[in-house]
Amino acid sequence: MTLTELANPTRFLSLTTRVLPWLAIVTAILLAVGLYQSALAPDDYQQGATVKIMFIHVPNAWLSMFVWGVMSIASLGTLVWRHPLADVAAKAAAPIGAAFTFLALVTGSLWGRPMWGTYWEWDARLTSVLILFLMYLGLIALWRAVEDPSRAARAAAILTLVGAINIPIIKFSVDWWNTLHQPASVMKMGGSSLDKAFLIPLLVMAVAFSLLFITLHLAAMRNEILRRRVRALQMLQASKPVALPQ
C-alpha cells in the first residue's frame, strides 16, 4: 500500500473503516494506562501533586507543533505532488492542532498559577505557543473564507509553509526577548534529566496522545471526504433541469 494508491478516496475510506476501530481501541487502552501510571507517579519534592499536570501538558505541547509539521507535509503534497487527499489532510488537521495548542496553553496556565504565582506571563515559550495558536486560528479562518475547497487548499498550503518557516523564527526571537519557562529537559544532549518515575508515564502519555491525534485526524479526514461528496451531490442535484409544471 503506497501513498499513490491511497490517492483514491474510496480506497482510503475502505482502509480507514477497517483500521479506525483498532486504532481507537489501542488509543483508549494506552490513554488509560498512561493516566493510571501518571496518577500513581510520586509527588515532586518541590511541586507536590501539581507535577501531574505535566503528563497532560507536555504531550499537548508536543502535538501542537507536530500537527503543524503534518500540515506542512500535507501542504507540500497539495502544491508539489497534487495528491488529492493532501488538502483533505491539511484541512482536517487544523482544528485538531488548534485544540491541542489551546489545551497546552490552558494546562500550562493552570500549572503556572501554583508554580509561578500567575496564570499568564509574557514569557518566551508561552508567547510563542500563543502566536502558534493565533496562526492556527488564522489558517482556519482562511479555510472558512473560501467556498471552493481546492482554491482554499492552495492558499492555505502557502500560508502553512510560510508559517512553518516563521514559527522557528518567532520562537527564537521571543526566546531572546524574555524568559521564564524552563528549558527542554526530556530531549536534550546527554540524556534526560527527568527521573524514570516521571519519564515512563510521560512517554506513554506522549504515545497515547499521538495515537489520539492519528485517530481523530483519520476520522476528520473521513468526515471531510464525505462532506465533499454530499456537497458534490447537492450541486449535481441543483444543476438538474427541473420539470416545469404544465
Partner: protein, 222 residues
C-alpha cells in the same frame, strides 16, 4: 530589466497620484500616534519611554493598511493578468511591485518619523535611531505582507482576513525593531545585534516573500 523598471515607475506613479492613496498611510500613522497620548495621558516621561514602541506599532498598522492596494487595483483592471502572462518571471514582478509599494508607502512613514518623535518627546538621537530601525525593518513588513496581499486577492477577501494572516508573521520584525531602538536609546545591550537581525529578517523576507506571493497568484488566479 526595462520591464521591471517600467513596472516600478508605473506603480509609484499610480500610488502618488490622485486616487493612489499611498500618503493616506502617513495620515493614518499620524492619527495612531496622536491617539496614544489620549489613551496614556499626556505624561511626557512615559511617552518618551514608550515612544519607540508606539512609533513601531503605528508604522506596522499603517503599512498593513496600505497593503490591501498592492494587488487588488491591478486585479480589478486586469493588469495583473497581463503581468501573469508576460515573459518577465512573476517572482521578479512581485518583487518589483513590493519595492515600488515600499518606496511609495513605506518611505513616507520613515520621513514622517522625526515629526512624530517630536510629538512623543523623543530627543534627536532617539528619533534618528527609531527612523533607522524603521528603514531597516519596514521592507520586511512589506515583503511578508505581500504574501498575505496575494492570498487575499486570489480569494477576493481583503480587510480583516489579511490583517489576521499577516500580523503574526510580523511579530519578529516588531520585537527586533523595538529592541534595537530601545538599545540605541538607553539599553544596556548593544544596538548592533538586534539591528543586524532586523536587517537579516528584511533580507530573508526579500527572498521568501516574492516566491510565496508568486506561487499564490499562480495557483489562485486561474
Amino acid at each position: 530589466m526595462t520591464a521591471l523598471a517600467a513596472l516600478i515607475r508605473r506603480d509609484i506613479r499610480i500610488a502618488l497620484r490622485v486616487g493612489g492613496g499611498a500618503l493616506i498611510g502617513v495620515l493614518f500613522f499620524l492619527t495612531v500616534v496622536v491617539l496614544m497620548p489620549f489613551a496614556l495621558g499626556p505624561d511626557l516621561a512615559l511617552l518618551a519611554r514608550l515612544g519607540p514602541a508606539i512609533l513601531w506599532i503605528g508604522a506596522l498598522l499603517a503599512s498593513l493598511l496600505t497593503l490591501d492596494r498592492l494587488f487588488t487595483a491591478d486585479h480589478d483592471d486586469g493588469s495583473l493578468d497581463l503581468i501573469l502572462m508576460s515573459r518577465t518571471p512573476l517572482e521578479l514582478a512581485c518583487a518589483a511591485k513590493a519595492l515600488a509599494h515600499w518606496i511609495a508607502a513605506g518611505l513616507p512613514l520613515i520621513v514622517a518619523t522625526p515629526v512624530l518623535g517630536l510629538l512623543l518627546n523623543l530627543d534627536g538621537p532617539s528619533t534618528l535611531a527609531v527612523a533607522l530601525t524603521l528603514l531597516a525593518g519596514t521592507p520586511a513588513l512589506t515583503f511578508t505582507g505581500m504574501i498575505g496581499a496575494a492570498l487575499a486577492v486570489t480569494l477576493q477577501r481583503g480587510g480583516l482576513l489579511l490583517a489576521v494572516l499577516v500580523l503574526p508573521l510580523s511579530i519578529p520584525v516588531l520585537i527586533f525593531g523595538v529592541a534595537a531602538s530601545n538599545a540605541a536609546i538607553d539599553g544596556p545591550l548593544s544596538f548592533g545585534t538586534p539591528f543586524s537581525i532586523l536587517c537579516a529578517l528584511s533580507l530573508a523576507s526579500l527572498v521568501i516573500g516574492p516566491f510565496a506571493a508568486a506561487a499564490s497568484l499562480r495557483h489562485g488566479l486561474d
